[in-house]
């Protein structure tokens, strides 16, 4: 479904990614792990076209999307929830969802489905997104991505800095989406969460993939050492 080969990228002259390859098969949940500053967010940004790739290829559903602008990738079925519960702060919760729905010309039912995933948002539809709590904003951010009915959902640390009760809700939502057959590419720092959710994982260090394998491999001592903080 998603295939990344030899991807290189960075900011200006500072290179961050040095030839990353990975793949996400349909319905698979792949978790990208690694310490701070190893290039996880840069990888997702480049996969999504927020940053241009300086070398390598990104293919989605058999199509080379390396040079496509972000909004065209969304139209193909990729959805991205960037780090830090990003919303359109002065739009209402409903406005946040509608603007995405209209941009991708989706059916109204897609919006209802997204709200079913996070029922907590239903009573807040008229509130400005900027005034929600961080956890609510993150739920809105994921719901906004779901409105496009993506085939691949890309999440960047969806539980970072969120109160524990909502972390559980978000985790369960990701689990349900995965179970319903959606492919997920997840960046996550919490080993426990990754162990519970992921089919496969890869570990980045200094812009390289240093380790990859199944969830079972992740339990081994060796892997834990690579992630040691």
């Amino acid at each position: 479904m998603l295939s990344v080969q030899g991807l290189e990228s960075g900011y200006g002259r500072a290179r961050v990614l040095f030839g990353i390859s990975l793949s996400v098969e349909p319905g698979e949940l792949v978790c990208v792990m690694g310490r701070n500053g190893v290039g996880k967010t840069t990888l997702l940004d480049t996969v999504m076209g927020v940053l241009p790739a300086t070398a390598g290829m990104v293919a989605f559903a058999g199509e080379d999307v390396t040079r496509l602008p972000s909004h065209r990738r969304v139209a193909l079925g990729m959805a991205y929830v960037p780090q830090g519960h990003a919303t359109f702060p002065q739009l209402s919760v409903l406005g946040n969802l509608l603007v995405t729905l209209e941009a991708c010309r989706g059916p109204r039912e897609a919006l209802e489905e997204a709200l079913e995933t996070f029922p907590r948002l239903k009573p807040l539809l008229k509130r400005s997104a900027g005034f929600l709590s961080g956890g609510q904003q993150q739920q809105l951010a994921i719901a906004r991505a779901l409105v496009t009915r993506p085939r691949l959902l890309i999440l960047d640390e969806p539980t970072e800095g969120i109160q524990p009760s909502i972390v559980i809700e978000i985790e369960e939502a990701i689990e349900r989406l995965h179970a319903s057959g959606m492919a997920v590419l997840l960046v996550e720092q919490y080993l426990e969460l990754a162990l519970r959710l992921a089919d496969r994982f890869l570990i980045l260090d200094a812009g390289h993939v240093v380790h990859s394998g199944t969830a079972a491999d992740l339990r081994q001592e060796e892997t834990r050492r690579l992630l040691a903080v």
Binding site: M48, A79, V99
Partner: protein, 288 residues
């Protein structure tokens, strides 16, 4: 007290003019952050459009001129955005110099096409006369300003295009990954902002002569309204325009025209010292 009451409609009508000329800037400057010095020349283009149309369309000239001027100025803005400004996004100083140059070129172009002396647009008969101290043409501008504000508000808050425009201005990166074609939204924003300058230009023909430097005369006031009101805030622009209009009118009554200008500038400078972000700030947890 009588003087106070008499100056009130004058102040409000100055405010209405300020609001009309500033409204376009709330799009291009307020929302997009582009300092477009050629905005004044789009006002001028709107005014000359009304001048060219007046012989063709007779009694309804002003009404016909409004949409035509919107289209003319809007297209000029769109061409400027596509050919030049978009290459300078995120570089305000370069944009300022570039658009200033464009502004001078457009002024010279107007001189070549229409001659250096001012021309006059004849106000239609139904706009001559007035109620008390308030002439009909001023009243027309006031109503036009109100309708334009209502239209802009409805566009931003009640249409999908307006919602996309807000989304891009509030979080460009997120808008792109939400499937919004941000380049297209930029073009549309620039078209509408410039088009509104054209509408303001038509309104200005009702209260004064039209010349190549018409825009230069108003551009500073327009920027002041947007900055004092708070960038990108529609309500802020309305309140700031009304406030500046009234201030100008009373200051002019109690002193004279040039001293009034000094007083207005002094008040704005003082105000921005206390509140550099302007009257209304778009606030939220995410931004605080």
């Amino acid at each position: 007290m009588e003087a106070f009451v008499n100056q009130l409609p004058i102040g409000i009508s100055i405010g209405a003019v300020l609001l009309l000329i500033a409204l376009g800037l709330t799009f291009t400057f307020g929302q997009m952050g582009v300092i477009n010095m050629a905005h004044g020349e789009f006002i001028m283009a709107g005014a000359y459009t009304a001048y060219l149309l007046q012989d063709l369309t007779g009694r309804m000239a002003v009404i016909v001129a409004l949409p035509v001027a919107f289209a003319v100025a809007g297209l000029m803005g769109l061409i400027l955005e596509r050919t030049a400004i978009r290459h300078f996004y995120g570089r305000p100083l370069d944009t300022l110099l570039l658009t200033w140059g464009v502004s001078l070129v457009l002024q010279q172009l107007a001189r070549d096409l229409f001659g250096a002396p001012n021309v006059q647009v004849q106000a239609p008969a139904w706009l001559q006369g007035g109620i008390g101290t308030l002439p009909y043409n001023r009243l027309f501008i006031f109503v036009l300003a109100l309708l334009t504000v209502a239209g802009v508000w409805a566009y931003l808050n009640r249409t999908g295009q307006g919602r996309r425009m807000q989304a891009v201005m509030q979080n460009r990166g997120l808008a792109a990954v939400s499937g919004i074609d941000t380049g297209r939204v930029d073009q549309r924003t620039f078209f509408i902002g410039s088009g509104l300058a054209g509408v303001a230009g038509v309104a200005l023909t009702l209260i004064g002569p039209v010349g190549p430097t018409l825009g230069t005369y108003y551009i500073v006031d327009a920027f002041l309204v947007v900055v004092a009101g708070g960038l990108g805030s529609l309500l802020g622009a309305v309140v700031a325009a009304a406030g500046l209009g009234l201030l100008n009118s009373y200051a002019e009554f109690w002193s004279d025209a040039s001293l009034a200008k000094v007083i207005v500038f002094a008040v704005i400078v003082a105000f921005l010292q206390v509140r550099p972000q302007g009257l209304f700030v778009l606030r939220s947890r995410a931004l605080s």
